[in-house]
């Protein structure tokens, strides 16, 4: 089971909101697909809840990307920055 982060260092960063916007998926659609309440997706996006490994894997599978592309212990660079870095 996941938990609420106790400090900034404990926080899990994610790209769920960006991926949702990119794929045109609402919180409710994602929540239904991964088996949680929509509010829980909101808490994960806001960094107020660190999901369990199972939930993190289900979210990554939903977007069809590796889990480390969605979640990170370090702040994630924006997708445009990462794309630029890979193409230069």
């Amino acid at each position: 089971m996941g938990r609420q982060p106790r400090s900034e260092a404990d926080k899990v960063h994610d790209r769920i909101a960006v991926l949702r916007a990119d794929r045109g998926v609402s919180r409710k659609e994602l929540a239904d697909a991964v088996g949680v309440h929509p509010q829980t997706i909101g808490y994960v996006e806001r960094g107020e809840y660190s999901p369990s490994l199972a939930l993190a894997l289900r979210i990554a599978r939903f977007f069809d990307v590796p889990v480390e592309a969605v979640f990170s212990l370090d702040p994630l660079p924006s997708l445009s920055e990462e794309l630029l870095r890979r193409t230069t």
């Binding site: 609420q4 949680v36 309440h37 929509p38 829980t40 808490y43 809840y49």
Partner: protein, 167 residues
């Protein structure tokens, strides 16, 4: 196997969007304060009743009845504010809701134990000092009841505001 929380009738009622107003932290905290004030007032009334000759004066009966009746809508609002996570089956809760519930249970374990202890010792003291059984039972009931509510109060007080939209 499905991983989705089961949508029981109770879960659907607690998740109903018509009650979003009750889920604002400001409302939840006000209801907690109202419940604590109400129960404290009833405890004070019990103590006052225990000091009377018959131990069950008419004004106390009215205060007790009104107090418990007022408690019903207050607790309904509180429960809607926390989506009834303490009253629903585990199967209807997702991992975050279960985490919130367990966190509040753990945080309030000692205060609840202290209130249970106070319920028993207080009831025995009331009987021993006044000889009245009815106010002793009321005292015991109120503190036992409050002990059960501490986890509700903790969650309602500490839970963050929910994400505003589902988009």
């Amino acid at each position: 196997m499905s991983t989705s929380p089961e949508q029981t009738y109770l879960a659907r009622a607690f998740d109903d969007g018509r009650y979003d107003w009750a889920r604002a932290r400001r409302i939840r905290r006000r209801v907690v304060v109202a419940q604590v004030v109400l129960l404290t007032g009833l405890v004070a009334a019990v103590v006052a009743a225990a000091t009377t000759d018959d131990g069950w004066p008419g004004w106390f009966f009215i205060a007790w009845t009104v107090g418990l009746l007022v408690f019903i809508p207050l607790h309904s609002v509180l429960n809607l504010g926390i989506r009834g996570v303490f009253d629903r089956s585990d199967r209807s809760l997702d991992e975050h809701q279960q985490t919130l519930r367990e966190r509040s249970f753990l945080a309030m374990a000692w205060p609840a134990t202290a209130l249970h202890f106070l319920a028993w010792t207080g009831a025995v003291t009331v009987v021993a000092t006044s000889g009245h059984v009815a106010p002793a039972l009321c005292w015991g009931f109120l503190l036992w009841f409050a002990a059960g509510l501490t986890a509700y109060w903790h969650l309602a007080w500490t839970a963050p505001d929910e994400p505003a939209d589902l988009c």
